[in-house]
Subunit: 229 residues, 4 copies
Amino acid sequence: MRGPNRRIMSAPLVIVNAKTYESSQGDGAVTLARIMDDLDSRGARLVLAVSAFDLSAVSAAVENIEVWTQHLDPIGFGSNTGRLHPNTAVERGAQGTLINHAENKVDISHVGELLPMVEGKLEVCACAADLQEAEALAALSPMYIAIEPPELIGGVISVTTADPAIVSDTVGLVKSVNPAVRVLCGAGVNTGEDVATALKLGADGVLLASAVTKASDPAAVLANLLSQL
Amino acid sequence: MRGPNRRIMSAPLVIVNAKTYESSQGDGAVTLARIMDDLDSRGARLVLAVSAFDLSAVSAAVENIEVWTQHLDPIGFGSNTGRLHPNTAVERGAQGTLINHAENKVDISHVGELLPMVEGKLEVCACAADLQEAEALAALSPMYIAIEPPELIGGVISVTTADPAIVSDTVGLVKSVNPAVRVLCGAGVNTGEDVATALKLGADGVLLASAVTKASDPAAVLANLLSQL
Amino acid sequence: MRGPNRRIMSAPLVIVNAKTYESSQGDGAVTLARIMDDLDSRGARLVLAVSAFDLSAVSAAVENIEVWTQHLDPIGFGSNTGRLHPNTAVERGAQGTLINHAENKVDISHVGELLPMVEGKLEVCACAADLQEAEALAALSPMYIAIEPPELIGGVISVTTADPAIVSDTVGLVKSVNPAVRVLCGAGVNTGEDVATALKLGADGVLLASAVTKASDPAAVLANLLSQL
Amino acid sequence: MRGPNRRIMSAPLVIVNAKTYESSQGDGAVTLARIMDDLDSRGARLVLAVSAFDLSAVSAAVENIEVWTQHLDPIGFGSNTGRLHPNTAVERGAQGTLINHAENKVDISHVGELLPMVEGKLEVCACAADLQEAEALAALSPMYIAIEPPELIGGVISVTTADPAIVSDTVGLVKSVNPAVRVLCGAGVNTGEDVATALKLGADGVLLASAVTKASDPAAVLANLLSQL
């Protein structure tokens, strides 16, 4: 079984966010997880972030990749109907979580309270929709911040074809607030060359979604993404 | 396997809301589900409403009871990171859901949009924290509304010792808006006599939480609750 | 001074929602209010629903029309930083309020708690983005519900050119839940003929916004809207 | 008239948050504002943060103090029914705003988007319910952060009787993230000695509420608070 001790923290991190795409929920989540599990990760840590409903089944289906959840609530045990408790996530196989995704924004104290609750149990990637959010989140010291350089959103321009300063400046801004925070590039990454460029410019990994989940051949897309590591 | 066709809809409904109590999440949820599964339900439909993380494992562990989720989002497939999609719940074994619990309030259109999305796939129990909420929810025609008669909240008075009009008037109010809605008594129920009284006064079942989840012997508490059916 | 006793409740109600349009906030709100104040209302009750910031100044500037607020919170006096207290609105001249506008959705109990708090002090128009919301809101018995018949949203079709059943069925649905609720037509109304048609088909008035607030000559648009009363 | 140019930025800032206390809303807000306006501020900048409904009337009633609003929404002009637009606040006399008060929490991007929108027009005091929130907010560079040192909440211990490190460490933590941010002490301040101690330990001012708004003699309480400047 994989676990925190098996992880080489300096390895590049490649997170696939399954969101609630039809192709990557329910049985589709298990299928995608198995595809990822069978890949040669070429030294990268592969993560699939799944629906809370799918966490248990997906965790049981894989050996080599990590399974994360897409959201958690910083609650204690008790009267919290419908909330997502961190310990239950751990018990069902989660090794990390996304938080504050642009599709699921939370207030500052939500992140601030969650981090100490999950320390040593779950890794956290806080998502930032813009540079200001990234700065604020960096002050809270999550392990990872996924940031979308504004110029790269929409996918027309990739990190490889963009002005290198766009990515390195973004990484630099976050590191200037908190050098310990690792930065994931959350936009402009579609190919192995893009992953390699993002790492070269200072990112510690990438956060992907539809490029993988909506691909007709996810294995091929993922193999390409990992090809230049 | 249990399923909608196995349900006798006129049977009293007994829902245990696991919330995020330590004793009824993770392995504890499975243990509680098995205790419920082994009970003589005496003709009642037994439901355990669990954390989204536990749904899959709990569903796989039981044969006789229904497993519900505690919350759903009325979303389509797509970019909804961290949201709880109804179809994923169905695929992971849910047969129903709570919605609008006092600990997880939603706006009106959340309930209004969810109901047609899950019709024929999931039963819905909309929770009402007071009589006004119950009236508004009744207009949306969920199968069940769980209502807490204000005089019974806090648990000092049970439905058995209370003025019978408190319960029958509450049921009557909801039925006056929509006679097809079934009403669950969500307060003042701790014993089998209370369940029997609630049904006699017009309720179609009960919604329970800590009385079961925090009991040192949940099997005994549940057996007592079902004893007078 | 105008006041509840001056209002003829059976008069058609014409509410202009100033929203936060540049043209209808700050001094613009006062200017628009004065234009409305100087109109021959032809027996209609004219309402301008303004920003909380503008309520006091607009109320002081008019004699004949009513000034409403666009949102209120069902809070008591005390520690509610940044919330909008009903009594403060009354003290600053409000005679009514919108609530649950599609741009400012609230949960059911928000409306349910607000109505008794403001009874006899403020009229309430609860907004419904669709028919289901209208049904649920009707059960709470606000004085008015503003409903947008789905076929009329977008403004291409007006109530006058539409199948009359679209409007009368919408009105009928709300009245079937609660006959005492008055219905405002919130879409498909741009001209005096549209207002007349809406009233003929069972509406008690109209809720307008950009047709007035973005008009180059609001006085002319309003005069036309009132022309067939 | 007072204005940004009249302010001596290095002067201590004393903000009274009127919240929605009965005594400090409506006419009560004007009365309290006049009391503050007539005080010898002893070089401090006095601010009364009022309900949106009261902003216009309170601003018109004072000459020497600043009037702030308690909340703003980072919206543009347009379809934002019930929201609080910064420009309307400015037009109605606001010189600043609170944001992210514990009673009115917002997500990170709410603060992040508001700050550039109001730059040069309104001062912003972002409130932090704990040290983590303060760190995150500091990264967004508001002019002021009001922080409640956890040990001082509840009011039993004042900044004067507390271990001085509690206050100076809190101030130091915020300044370590962003030295340009000024820190207001939001707890443990009831007397002039407390204000003096807070300033001595590195705070640039204080944020008060019930100590003033619920006082039987607010003028005396305020005079005492300002007495050691």
